[in-house]
Protein backbone atom coordinates (compact mmCIF):
# COMPACT_ATOMS: atom_id res chain seq x y z
CA UNK A 1 0.00 0.00 0.00
CA UNK A 2 2.77 2.43 0.82
CA UNK A 3 4.79 1.85 -2.33
CA UNK A 4 5.55 5.11 -4.11
CA UNK A 5 2.54 5.57 -6.35
CA UNK A 6 2.10 7.87 -9.27
CA UNK A 7 -0.16 10.00 -7.07
CA UNK A 8 -0.32 9.94 -3.29
CA UNK A 9 -2.60 11.88 -1.00
CA UNK A 10 -1.61 11.80 2.64
CA UNK A 11 -3.96 12.99 5.39
CA UNK A 12 -5.46 15.69 3.17
CA UNK A 13 -8.00 18.03 4.75
CA UNK A 14 -9.71 21.06 3.25
CA UNK A 15 -11.77 23.81 4.79
CA UNK A 16 -13.72 26.25 2.66
CA UNK A 17 -15.25 29.26 4.38
CA UNK A 18 -14.89 27.63 7.78
CA UNK A 19 -16.68 24.50 6.62
CA UNK A 20 -14.81 21.22 6.52
CA UNK A 21 -15.16 19.77 3.03
CA UNK A 22 -12.68 16.90 3.25
CA UNK A 23 -10.96 15.33 6.23
CA UNK A 24 -8.09 12.87 6.49
CA UNK A 25 -8.13 11.75 2.87
CA UNK A 26 -5.33 9.32 2.03
CA UNK A 27 -4.93 7.14 -1.02
CA UNK A 28 -2.45 6.13 -3.67
CA UNK A 29 -2.88 5.69 -7.40
CA UNK A 30 -0.44 3.51 -9.26
CA UNK A 31 0.41 3.68 -12.97
CA UNK A 32 -2.18 2.10 -15.25
CA UNK A 33 -4.87 1.78 -12.56
CA UNK A 34 -8.50 2.63 -13.27
CA UNK A 35 -9.93 4.23 -10.15
CA UNK A 36 -13.51 5.32 -9.64
CA UNK A 37 -14.06 8.38 -7.44
CA UNK A 38 -17.56 7.59 -6.31
CA UNK A 39 -19.95 9.44 -4.05
CA UNK A 40 -23.18 11.38 -3.90
CA UNK A 41 -23.45 14.89 -5.35
CA UNK A 42 -21.84 17.46 -3.10
CA UNK A 43 -19.64 14.91 -1.31
CA UNK A 44 -16.44 16.69 -2.32
CA UNK A 45 -15.43 14.78 -5.46
CA UNK A 46 -14.81 17.91 -7.51
CA UNK A 47 -12.89 19.48 -4.62
CA UNK A 48 -10.70 16.39 -4.44
CA UNK A 49 -9.94 16.56 -8.16
CA UNK A 50 -9.21 20.30 -7.88
CA UNK A 51 -6.74 19.54 -5.08
CA UNK A 52 -4.91 17.04 -7.25
CA UNK A 53 -4.81 19.59 -10.08
CA UNK A 54 -3.37 22.24 -7.78
CA UNK A 55 -6.41 24.48 -8.20
CA UNK A 56 -7.46 24.13 -4.57
CA UNK A 57 -4.94 24.52 -1.73
CA UNK A 58 -5.15 22.00 1.10
CA UNK A 59 -5.55 22.96 4.73
CA UNK A 60 -3.74 19.85 5.96
CA UNK A 61 -1.79 16.94 4.54
CA UNK A 62 0.15 16.57 1.31
CA UNK A 63 -0.32 15.71 -2.36
CA UNK A 64 2.65 14.00 -3.92
CA UNK A 65 3.26 13.14 -7.55
CA UNK A 66 6.09 10.63 -8.03
CA UNK A 67 6.87 11.21 -4.37
CA UNK A 68 7.39 14.96 -4.77
CA UNK A 69 5.09 17.99 -4.41
CA UNK A 70 3.18 18.85 -7.55
CA UNK A 71 5.02 21.36 -9.77
CA UNK A 72 2.90 24.37 -10.81
CA UNK A 73 2.68 23.31 -14.46
CA UNK A 74 2.48 19.56 -14.50
CA UNK A 75 2.12 17.96 -17.91
CA UNK A 76 1.81 14.52 -16.33
CA UNK A 77 -1.84 15.13 -15.38
CA UNK A 78 -4.60 15.44 -17.96
CA UNK A 79 -7.97 16.87 -16.97
CA UNK A 80 -11.49 16.65 -18.33
CA UNK A 81 -13.72 19.04 -16.37
CA UNK A 82 -17.45 18.65 -15.78
CA UNK A 83 -19.62 19.22 -18.80
CA UNK A 84 -18.55 22.42 -20.46
CA UNK A 85 -21.03 25.04 -21.55
CA UNK A 86 -19.63 25.66 -25.04
CA UNK A 87 -21.59 28.08 -27.20
CA UNK A 88 -22.16 26.98 -30.80
CA UNK A 89 -20.43 30.12 -32.06
CA UNK A 90 -17.16 29.30 -30.26
CA UNK A 91 -14.76 29.32 -33.23
CA UNK A 92 -13.13 26.02 -32.37
CA UNK A 93 -13.43 22.92 -34.52
CA UNK A 94 -12.90 19.57 -32.88
CA UNK A 95 -9.38 19.40 -34.32
CA UNK A 96 -8.61 22.87 -32.92
CA UNK A 97 -9.65 21.78 -29.43
CA UNK A 98 -7.46 18.69 -29.57
CA UNK A 99 -4.61 20.76 -30.93
CA UNK A 100 -4.94 23.15 -27.97
CA UNK A 101 -4.23 20.09 -25.81
CA UNK A 102 -0.67 20.11 -27.12
CA UNK A 103 0.27 23.72 -26.44
CA UNK A 104 -2.85 25.77 -25.61
CA UNK A 105 -1.09 27.05 -22.49
CA UNK A 106 1.72 28.67 -24.49
CA UNK A 107 2.02 32.27 -25.63
CA UNK A 108 2.80 33.40 -29.14
CA UNK A 109 1.82 32.00 -32.50
CA UNK A 110 2.59 28.66 -34.01
CA UNK A 111 2.64 27.60 -37.62
CA UNK A 112 0.65 24.59 -38.76
CA UNK A 113 2.68 21.47 -39.44
CA UNK A 114 2.03 18.10 -40.98
CA UNK A 115 3.32 16.21 -37.93
CA UNK A 116 0.92 18.11 -35.74
CA UNK A 117 -2.06 17.45 -38.02
CA UNK A 118 -1.25 13.74 -38.00
CA UNK A 119 -0.87 13.67 -34.23
CA UNK A 120 -4.29 15.28 -33.85
CA UNK A 121 -5.86 12.92 -36.39
CA UNK A 122 -4.41 9.88 -34.60
CA UNK A 123 -5.72 11.09 -31.26
CA UNK A 124 -9.19 11.69 -32.70
CA UNK A 125 -9.18 8.19 -34.16
CA UNK A 126 -8.15 6.76 -30.78
CA UNK A 127 -11.25 8.20 -29.10
CA UNK A 128 -13.52 7.55 -32.08
CA UNK A 129 -14.12 11.22 -32.85
CA UNK A 130 -12.62 11.46 -36.34
CA UNK A 131 -16.07 11.65 -37.98
CA UNK A 132 -16.74 15.09 -36.61
CA UNK A 133 -13.17 16.43 -36.69
CA UNK A 134 -14.23 19.51 -38.65
CA UNK A 135 -17.43 20.25 -36.75
CA UNK A 136 -17.61 23.08 -34.27
CA UNK A 137 -17.21 21.67 -30.79
CA UNK A 138 -20.19 23.68 -29.50
CA UNK A 139 -22.48 21.91 -31.97
CA UNK A 140 -21.74 18.40 -30.70
CA UNK A 141 -23.77 16.28 -28.32
CA UNK A 142 -22.62 15.74 -24.73
CA UNK A 143 -21.09 12.33 -25.47
CA UNK A 144 -19.26 13.64 -28.52
CA UNK A 145 -17.88 16.58 -26.52
CA UNK A 146 -16.62 14.20 -23.85
CA UNK A 147 -14.69 12.21 -26.43
CA UNK A 148 -13.16 15.41 -27.80
CA UNK A 149 -12.18 16.60 -24.32
CA UNK A 150 -10.63 13.20 -23.57
CA UNK A 151 -8.58 13.51 -26.76
CA UNK A 152 -7.66 17.06 -25.72
CA UNK A 153 -6.46 15.81 -22.34
CA UNK A 154 -4.58 12.77 -23.65
CA UNK A 155 -2.68 14.32 -26.56
CA UNK A 156 -0.02 15.72 -24.23
CA UNK A 157 0.66 12.13 -23.06
CA UNK A 158 -0.19 12.47 -19.36
CA UNK A 159 0.36 9.53 -17.03
CA UNK A 160 -2.71 10.35 -14.96
CA UNK A 161 -6.07 11.35 -16.42
CA UNK A 162 -8.65 13.01 -14.16
CA UNK A 163 -12.25 13.16 -15.31
CA UNK A 164 -14.98 15.01 -13.43
CA UNK A 165 -18.39 13.36 -13.90
CA UNK A 166 -17.81 12.54 -17.57
CA UNK A 167 -20.87 10.29 -17.64
CA UNK A 168 -23.33 12.79 -16.19
CA UNK A 169 -26.26 13.54 -18.50
CA UNK A 170 -25.23 10.98 -21.11
CA UNK A 171 -27.54 8.41 -22.60
CA UNK A 172 -26.64 4.79 -21.90
CA UNK A 173 -24.90 4.02 -25.19
CA UNK A 174 -22.74 7.18 -25.01
CA UNK A 175 -21.92 6.26 -21.43
CA UNK A 176 -20.75 2.80 -22.44
CA UNK A 177 -18.84 4.26 -25.37
CA UNK A 178 -16.90 6.66 -23.13
CA UNK A 179 -16.13 4.00 -20.52
CA UNK A 180 -14.81 1.55 -23.10
CA UNK A 181 -12.67 4.22 -24.79
CA UNK A 182 -11.14 5.12 -21.41
CA UNK A 183 -10.56 1.52 -20.38
CA UNK A 184 -8.91 0.71 -23.71
CA UNK A 185 -6.60 3.74 -23.61
CA UNK A 186 -5.71 3.14 -19.96
CA UNK A 187 -4.69 -0.45 -20.72
CA UNK A 188 -2.94 0.30 -24.01
CA UNK A 189 -0.99 3.35 -22.87
CA UNK A 190 -0.58 2.53 -19.19
CA UNK A 191 -2.41 5.72 -18.20
CA UNK A 192 -3.85 5.84 -14.70
CA UNK A 193 -7.47 7.03 -14.73
CA UNK A 194 -9.28 8.71 -11.84
CA UNK A 195 -12.89 9.27 -12.80
CA UNK A 196 -15.59 10.79 -10.61
CA UNK A 197 -19.18 9.60 -10.83
CA UNK A 198 -22.23 9.56 -8.63
CA UNK A 199 -23.24 6.18 -10.07
CA UNK A 200 -20.63 3.43 -9.95
CA UNK A 201 -22.53 0.94 -12.09
CA UNK A 202 -21.31 1.94 -15.55
CA UNK A 203 -17.74 1.61 -14.21
CA UNK A 204 -18.08 -1.80 -12.62
CA UNK A 205 -16.57 -3.76 -15.53
CA UNK A 206 -13.44 -1.60 -15.77
CA UNK A 207 -12.79 -0.22 -12.28
CA UNK A 208 -9.69 -1.63 -10.52
CA UNK A 209 -10.17 0.36 -7.35
CA UNK A 210 -12.66 2.69 -5.77
CA UNK A 211 -12.29 5.85 -3.73
CA UNK A 212 -15.70 6.29 -2.14
CA UNK A 213 -16.37 9.83 -0.86
CA UNK A 214 -19.14 10.63 1.59
CA UNK A 215 -19.52 13.12 4.41
CA UNK A 216 -16.06 14.52 3.69
CA UNK A 217 -14.22 11.25 4.22
CA UNK A 218 -13.10 8.45 1.92
CA UNK A 219 -13.04 4.67 1.91
CA UNK A 220 -10.48 3.19 -0.44
CA UNK A 221 -9.84 -0.28 -1.77
CA UNK A 222 -10.94 -2.87 -4.28
CA UNK A 223 -14.53 -2.38 -5.33
CA UNK A 224 -15.81 -5.50 -3.54
CA UNK A 225 -14.01 -4.48 -0.33
CA UNK A 226 -15.42 -0.97 -0.22
CA UNK A 227 -18.96 -1.48 -1.46
CA UNK A 228 -20.11 -3.22 1.71
CA UNK A 229 -22.87 -2.05 4.02
CA UNK A 230 -20.56 -1.86 7.07
CA UNK A 231 -17.89 0.16 5.28
CA UNK A 232 -20.30 2.61 3.69
CA UNK A 233 -22.44 2.94 6.82
CA UNK A 234 -19.38 3.97 8.76
CA UNK A 235 -18.42 6.43 6.04
CA UNK A 236 -21.86 8.02 5.79
CA UNK A 237 -22.28 8.01 9.58
CA UNK A 238 -25.68 6.41 9.18
CA UNK A 239 -26.93 3.01 8.20
CA UNK A 240 -26.96 2.33 4.48
CA UNK A 241 -27.78 -0.87 2.64
CA UNK A 242 -25.95 -2.19 -0.38
CA UNK A 243 -28.34 -3.95 -2.70
CA UNK A 244 -27.07 -6.06 -5.58
CA UNK A 245 -29.56 -6.76 -8.28
CA UNK A 246 -28.84 -8.12 -11.79
CA UNK A 247 -25.19 -7.32 -11.37
CA UNK A 248 -25.96 -3.72 -10.46
CA UNK A 249 -25.24 -2.11 -7.12
CA UNK A 250 -27.53 0.27 -5.30
CA UNK A 251 -26.51 2.13 -2.17
CA UNK A 252 -29.61 3.20 -0.25
CA UNK A 253 -30.09 4.95 3.06
CA UNK A 254 -31.96 3.04 5.77
CA UNK A 255 -35.42 4.29 6.71
CA UNK A 256 -35.85 6.50 9.78
CA UNK A 257 -35.35 4.78 13.12
CA UNK A 258 -32.45 2.48 12.32
CA UNK A 259 -29.74 3.11 14.87
CA UNK A 260 -26.87 4.82 13.12
CA UNK A 261 -24.46 4.39 16.01
CA UNK A 262 -24.88 0.65 15.86
CA UNK A 263 -24.11 0.58 12.20
CA UNK A 264 -21.12 2.86 12.59
CA UNK A 265 -19.68 0.76 15.38
CA UNK A 266 -19.49 -2.28 13.15
CA UNK A 267 -16.23 -3.56 11.80
CA UNK A 268 -14.67 -1.18 9.32
CA UNK A 269 -11.26 -2.66 8.77
CA UNK A 270 -11.45 -1.99 5.04
CA UNK A 271 -11.70 1.70 5.68
CA UNK A 272 -8.45 3.49 5.79
Amino acid sequence: MMTAGLLRLDGVGVQLGGREILRDVSFTIRPGEFTGLIGPNGAGKTTLLRIILGLQPVTRGSVLIDGAPRPPRDASIGYVPQKLAIEPDMPLRVRDVVSLGIDGHKFGIRLPSRARRELVADMLAAVGAQRYADARVGELSGGEQQRVMIAHALISRPRLLLLDEPLANLDISSEQGIVSVLARLARAEGIAVLLSAHDMNPLMPVMDRIVYVAAGRVAVGRTDEVVQPEVLSRLYGQHVDVIRVHGRVLVVAAPEGVDAAEAVAEDASAVR
Partner: protein, 307 residues
Protein backbone atom coordinates in the same frame (compact mmCIF):
# COMPACT_ATOMS: atom_id res chain seq x y z
CA UNK B 1 -14.59 50.68 -67.05
CA UNK B 2 -12.95 53.99 -66.36
CA UNK B 3 -16.35 55.58 -66.64
CA UNK B 4 -17.69 53.17 -64.06
CA UNK B 5 -14.76 53.86 -61.76
CA UNK B 6 -15.31 57.57 -62.16
CA UNK B 7 -18.93 56.99 -61.26
CA UNK B 8 -18.01 55.12 -58.09
CA UNK B 9 -15.09 57.28 -57.06
CA UNK B 10 -16.16 60.88 -57.28
CA UNK B 11 -13.62 63.37 -58.68
CA UNK B 12 -10.82 64.10 -56.27
CA UNK B 13 -11.23 61.00 -54.14
CA UNK B 14 -7.72 59.71 -54.70
CA UNK B 15 -6.17 63.14 -54.44
CA UNK B 16 -7.71 64.08 -51.12
CA UNK B 17 -5.42 64.17 -48.10
CA UNK B 18 -8.13 63.47 -45.52
CA UNK B 19 -9.24 60.47 -47.60
CA UNK B 20 -5.71 59.06 -47.58
CA UNK B 21 -5.50 59.42 -43.83
CA UNK B 22 -8.96 57.94 -43.37
CA UNK B 23 -8.14 54.93 -45.54
CA UNK B 24 -4.81 54.25 -43.85
CA UNK B 25 -5.99 54.70 -40.27
CA UNK B 26 -9.34 53.04 -40.99
CA UNK B 27 -7.64 49.93 -42.34
CA UNK B 28 -5.37 49.42 -39.35
CA UNK B 29 -8.15 50.10 -36.85
CA UNK B 30 -10.66 47.91 -38.68
CA UNK B 31 -8.25 44.97 -38.63
CA UNK B 32 -7.44 45.44 -34.95
CA UNK B 33 -11.08 45.80 -33.93
CA UNK B 34 -12.14 42.78 -35.92
CA UNK B 35 -9.44 40.50 -34.52
CA UNK B 36 -9.96 41.70 -30.94
CA UNK B 37 -13.71 41.36 -31.57
CA UNK B 38 -13.45 37.66 -32.40
CA UNK B 39 -12.18 37.07 -28.86
CA UNK B 40 -14.74 39.49 -27.39
CA UNK B 41 -17.59 37.48 -28.89
CA UNK B 42 -15.95 34.14 -28.06
CA UNK B 43 -15.46 35.14 -24.43
CA UNK B 44 -19.01 36.49 -24.18
CA UNK B 45 -17.73 39.98 -23.36
CA UNK B 46 -19.65 41.97 -25.97
CA UNK B 47 -21.43 43.76 -23.17
CA UNK B 48 -18.12 44.66 -21.53
CA UNK B 49 -17.06 46.09 -24.90
CA UNK B 50 -20.18 48.19 -25.06
CA UNK B 51 -19.71 49.42 -21.49
CA UNK B 52 -16.18 50.49 -22.34
CA UNK B 53 -17.56 52.39 -25.33
CA UNK B 54 -20.07 54.29 -23.19
CA UNK B 55 -17.43 55.23 -20.66
CA UNK B 56 -15.03 56.19 -23.45
CA UNK B 57 -17.73 58.65 -24.58
CA UNK B 58 -17.34 60.42 -21.26
CA UNK B 59 -13.57 60.45 -21.71
CA UNK B 60 -13.82 61.82 -25.23
CA UNK B 61 -16.19 64.61 -24.25
CA UNK B 62 -14.05 65.43 -21.20
CA UNK B 63 -10.99 65.69 -23.43
CA UNK B 64 -12.90 68.01 -25.75
CA UNK B 65 -13.89 70.19 -22.81
CA UNK B 66 -10.33 70.65 -21.62
CA UNK B 67 -9.06 71.00 -25.17
CA UNK B 68 -6.93 67.91 -25.79
CA UNK B 69 -7.21 65.29 -28.48
CA UNK B 70 -10.26 63.11 -27.94
CA UNK B 71 -8.35 59.88 -28.48
CA UNK B 72 -6.56 60.40 -25.17
CA UNK B 73 -9.90 60.82 -23.44
CA UNK B 74 -11.29 57.65 -24.98
CA UNK B 75 -8.14 55.76 -24.10
CA UNK B 76 -7.78 57.00 -20.50
CA UNK B 77 -11.41 56.40 -19.58
CA UNK B 78 -11.62 53.09 -21.46
CA UNK B 79 -8.48 51.74 -19.83
CA UNK B 80 -9.56 53.00 -16.41
CA UNK B 81 -12.95 51.36 -16.80
CA UNK B 82 -11.30 48.12 -17.93
CA UNK B 83 -9.10 48.11 -14.84
CA UNK B 84 -12.14 48.77 -12.65
CA UNK B 85 -14.11 45.96 -14.31
CA UNK B 86 -11.22 43.61 -13.73
CA UNK B 87 -11.05 44.64 -10.07
CA UNK B 88 -14.73 44.09 -9.35
CA UNK B 89 -14.55 40.87 -11.34
CA UNK B 90 -16.43 40.86 -14.61
CA UNK B 91 -17.02 37.16 -14.15
CA UNK B 92 -19.77 37.69 -11.58
CA UNK B 93 -22.61 38.12 -13.96
CA UNK B 94 -25.40 39.43 -11.77
CA UNK B 95 -23.37 41.98 -9.85
CA UNK B 96 -21.88 43.00 -13.15
CA UNK B 97 -25.24 43.71 -14.74
CA UNK B 98 -26.44 45.96 -11.96
CA UNK B 99 -23.11 47.72 -11.47
CA UNK B 100 -22.65 48.40 -15.17
CA UNK B 101 -26.22 49.60 -15.55
CA UNK B 102 -25.72 52.22 -12.86
CA UNK B 103 -22.19 53.18 -13.90
CA UNK B 104 -23.06 53.50 -17.58
CA UNK B 105 -25.97 55.79 -16.87
CA UNK B 106 -23.72 58.05 -14.83
CA UNK B 107 -21.03 57.97 -17.52
CA UNK B 108 -23.35 59.08 -20.31
CA UNK B 109 -24.84 61.74 -18.03
CA UNK B 110 -21.35 63.15 -17.47
CA UNK B 111 -20.72 63.00 -21.22
CA UNK B 112 -23.85 65.10 -21.78
CA UNK B 113 -22.62 67.67 -19.26
CA UNK B 114 -19.13 67.87 -20.76
CA UNK B 115 -20.46 68.23 -24.28
CA UNK B 116 -22.90 70.90 -23.20
CA UNK B 117 -20.21 72.91 -21.40
CA UNK B 118 -17.73 72.34 -24.23
CA UNK B 119 -20.05 73.50 -27.00
CA UNK B 120 -21.11 76.51 -24.90
CA UNK B 121 -17.56 77.71 -24.45
CA UNK B 122 -16.37 77.13 -28.01
CA UNK B 123 -18.00 77.53 -31.36
CA UNK B 124 -17.19 74.06 -32.69
CA UNK B 125 -20.75 72.83 -32.89
CA UNK B 126 -19.68 69.69 -34.75
CA UNK B 127 -17.74 68.43 -31.74
CA UNK B 128 -20.63 66.63 -30.09
CA UNK B 129 -21.32 64.85 -33.29
CA UNK B 130 -17.68 63.91 -33.83
CA UNK B 131 -17.36 62.47 -30.34
CA UNK B 132 -20.58 60.51 -30.39
CA UNK B 133 -20.58 59.36 -33.99
CA UNK B 134 -17.04 59.89 -35.23
CA UNK B 135 -15.59 61.50 -38.28
CA UNK B 136 -12.77 59.92 -40.16
CA UNK B 137 -12.18 62.98 -42.30
CA UNK B 138 -11.11 65.18 -39.41
CA UNK B 139 -8.32 62.99 -38.01
CA UNK B 140 -5.42 65.35 -37.46
CA UNK B 141 -2.25 64.08 -39.09
CA UNK B 142 -0.25 64.43 -35.87
CA UNK B 143 -2.36 61.74 -34.18
CA UNK B 144 -1.97 59.23 -37.02
CA UNK B 145 1.25 57.62 -35.70
CA UNK B 146 -0.26 57.36 -32.20
CA UNK B 147 -3.37 55.65 -33.57
CA UNK B 148 -1.41 53.21 -35.68
CA UNK B 149 1.03 52.31 -32.90
CA UNK B 150 -1.83 51.78 -30.42
CA UNK B 151 -3.65 49.58 -32.89
CA UNK B 152 -0.58 47.47 -33.55
CA UNK B 153 0.04 47.09 -29.80
CA UNK B 154 -3.53 45.89 -29.17
CA UNK B 155 -3.34 43.56 -32.15
CA UNK B 156 0.02 42.16 -31.03
CA UNK B 157 -1.37 41.57 -27.53
CA UNK B 158 -4.25 39.41 -28.68
CA UNK B 159 -2.13 37.56 -31.22
CA UNK B 160 0.42 36.67 -28.55
CA UNK B 161 -2.38 35.64 -26.18
CA UNK B 162 -4.48 33.92 -28.86
CA UNK B 163 -3.94 30.33 -27.79
CA UNK B 164 -4.28 30.92 -24.06
CA UNK B 165 -7.40 33.02 -24.67
CA UNK B 166 -8.96 30.21 -26.67
CA UNK B 167 -8.02 27.62 -24.06
CA UNK B 168 -9.39 29.82 -21.26
CA UNK B 169 -12.61 30.35 -23.22
CA UNK B 170 -12.96 26.61 -23.67
CA UNK B 171 -12.38 25.99 -19.96
CA UNK B 172 -10.75 28.33 -17.45
CA UNK B 173 -10.26 25.30 -15.19
CA UNK B 174 -8.18 23.42 -17.75
CA UNK B 175 -6.19 26.55 -18.49
CA UNK B 176 -5.49 27.15 -14.79
CA UNK B 177 -4.55 23.50 -14.24
CA UNK B 178 -2.03 23.81 -17.05
CA UNK B 179 -0.38 26.81 -15.44
CA UNK B 180 -1.99 29.62 -17.44
CA UNK B 181 -2.30 32.80 -15.32
CA UNK B 182 -5.97 33.03 -16.33
CA UNK B 183 -6.75 36.23 -14.48
CA UNK B 184 -3.70 38.13 -15.74
CA UNK B 185 -4.39 36.99 -19.28
CA UNK B 186 -7.99 38.17 -18.93
CA UNK B 187 -6.81 41.56 -17.66
CA UNK B 188 -4.31 41.97 -20.51
CA UNK B 189 -7.05 41.09 -22.95
CA UNK B 190 -9.45 43.61 -21.40
CA UNK B 191 -6.80 46.32 -21.87
CA UNK B 192 -6.43 45.41 -25.53
CA UNK B 193 -10.21 45.61 -25.76
CA UNK B 194 -10.24 49.08 -24.17
CA UNK B 195 -7.59 50.28 -26.63
CA UNK B 196 -9.48 48.98 -29.65
CA UNK B 197 -12.72 50.53 -28.41
CA UNK B 198 -10.90 53.87 -28.11
CA UNK B 199 -9.55 53.45 -31.63
CA UNK B 200 -12.93 52.55 -33.11
CA UNK B 201 -14.37 55.58 -31.34
CA UNK B 202 -12.01 57.76 -33.35
CA UNK B 203 -13.32 56.50 -36.66
CA UNK B 204 -17.00 55.77 -36.09
CA UNK B 205 -17.59 57.50 -32.77
CA UNK B 206 -17.68 56.36 -29.19
CA UNK B 207 -21.32 55.35 -29.18
CA UNK B 208 -20.98 53.22 -32.31
CA UNK B 209 -17.51 51.84 -31.66
CA UNK B 210 -18.78 48.42 -30.61
CA UNK B 211 -20.33 47.98 -34.05
CA UNK B 212 -16.89 47.81 -35.62
CA UNK B 213 -15.71 45.54 -32.80
CA UNK B 214 -18.58 43.05 -32.62
CA UNK B 215 -20.23 43.21 -36.06
CA UNK B 216 -17.45 41.84 -38.28
CA UNK B 217 -16.50 39.26 -35.64
CA UNK B 218 -20.07 38.04 -35.18
CA UNK B 219 -20.49 37.72 -38.94
CA UNK B 220 -17.17 35.90 -39.32
CA UNK B 221 -18.08 33.47 -36.55
CA UNK B 222 -21.17 32.51 -38.51
CA UNK B 223 -19.26 31.65 -41.67
CA UNK B 224 -15.77 30.50 -40.62
CA UNK B 225 -15.29 27.51 -38.34
CA UNK B 226 -11.69 27.69 -37.16
CA UNK B 227 -10.15 30.53 -35.12
CA UNK B 228 -7.56 31.69 -37.66
CA UNK B 229 -10.05 31.78 -40.49
CA UNK B 230 -12.59 33.59 -38.29
CA UNK B 231 -10.04 36.32 -37.54
CA UNK B 232 -9.11 36.66 -41.22
CA UNK B 233 -12.75 36.87 -42.33
CA UNK B 234 -13.58 39.38 -39.58
CA UNK B 235 -10.63 41.55 -40.59
CA UNK B 236 -11.74 41.36 -44.23
CA UNK B 237 -15.29 42.41 -43.39
CA UNK B 238 -14.10 45.25 -41.14
CA UNK B 239 -11.75 46.62 -43.79
CA UNK B 240 -14.33 46.26 -46.58
CA UNK B 241 -17.02 48.03 -44.57
CA UNK B 242 -14.60 50.82 -43.64
CA UNK B 243 -13.36 51.38 -47.19
CA UNK B 244 -16.81 51.23 -48.70
CA UNK B 245 -18.07 53.54 -45.98
CA UNK B 246 -15.35 56.07 -46.79
CA UNK B 247 -16.09 55.91 -50.52
CA UNK B 248 -19.83 56.29 -50.00
CA UNK B 249 -19.39 59.10 -47.50
CA UNK B 250 -17.16 60.92 -49.94
CA UNK B 251 -19.66 60.39 -52.75
CA UNK B 252 -22.57 61.44 -50.59
CA UNK B 253 -21.30 65.02 -50.75
CA UNK B 254 -23.14 65.16 -54.07
CA UNK B 255 -26.27 63.46 -52.76
CA UNK B 256 -29.25 65.37 -51.37
CA UNK B 257 -29.06 67.62 -49.51
CA UNK B 258 -26.24 68.54 -51.91
CA UNK B 259 -23.09 70.00 -50.49
CA UNK B 260 -23.14 68.11 -47.18
CA UNK B 261 -21.59 64.66 -46.93
CA UNK B 262 -23.35 61.97 -44.97
CA UNK B 263 -21.49 60.63 -41.93
CA UNK B 264 -19.00 57.81 -42.53
CA UNK B 265 -20.17 55.99 -39.44
CA UNK B 266 -23.66 55.68 -40.88
CA UNK B 267 -22.30 53.82 -43.91
CA UNK B 268 -19.82 51.68 -41.97
CA UNK B 269 -22.39 50.55 -39.43
CA UNK B 270 -25.08 49.94 -42.04
CA UNK B 271 -22.71 47.84 -44.15
CA UNK B 272 -21.64 45.79 -41.11
CA UNK B 273 -25.20 45.12 -40.03
CA UNK B 274 -26.15 44.31 -43.62
CA UNK B 275 -23.34 41.76 -43.82
CA UNK B 276 -24.46 40.16 -40.59
CA UNK B 277 -28.06 39.91 -41.79
CA UNK B 278 -26.95 38.30 -45.05
CA UNK B 279 -25.07 35.53 -43.22
CA UNK B 280 -27.96 35.14 -40.83
CA UNK B 281 -30.46 34.54 -43.61
CA UNK B 282 -28.10 32.37 -45.63
CA UNK B 283 -27.32 30.18 -42.64
CA UNK B 284 -31.00 29.70 -41.90
CA UNK B 285 -31.63 28.66 -45.52
CA UNK B 286 -28.89 26.08 -45.41
CA UNK B 287 -30.09 24.62 -42.17
CA UNK B 288 -33.60 24.24 -43.51
CA UNK B 289 -32.41 22.77 -46.80
CA UNK B 290 -30.17 20.06 -45.32
CA UNK B 291 -30.63 17.26 -42.85
CA UNK B 292 -28.93 18.24 -39.58
CA UNK B 293 -26.39 15.41 -39.63
CA UNK B 294 -25.02 13.25 -42.40
CA UNK B 295 -26.57 9.78 -42.12
CA UNK B 296 -23.24 8.01 -41.52
CA UNK B 297 -22.87 10.00 -38.32
CA UNK B 298 -25.75 8.08 -36.82
CA UNK B 299 -24.38 4.59 -37.25
CA UNK B 300 -21.85 2.83 -34.99
CA UNK B 301 -22.38 3.59 -31.32
CA UNK B 302 -25.24 6.03 -31.69
CA UNK B 303 -23.26 8.61 -29.80
CA UNK B 304 -24.32 11.38 -32.11
CA UNK B 305 -27.42 13.37 -31.58
CA UNK B 306 -28.30 16.25 -33.83
CA UNK B 307 -26.55 19.40 -32.76
Amino acid sequence: MSHLLRYIFEPGFFGSGPVHVALAVGTVIAITSAVVGVFTVTRGQSFAGHSLADIATTGGSGAFLIGINQFWGYLAFGAGAAAFMEMIGVQRRRGRDVATGVVLGAALGLAALFLYLGTQSSTTTGASFTILFGSMFVITSSTVPVLIVSALLALATVVVLARVLLLSSLSPEIAAARGVPVRAVGAAYLMALAVSVALSAVIIGAVLSTALLIGPAATALRVAKGPVRAMAVAAGIGVAATWLGIVLAYDSFYWPPAGRGWPVSFFVVTLIVGGYLVTYLRRRDRREAQPEMPPEALEEEQVCSPA
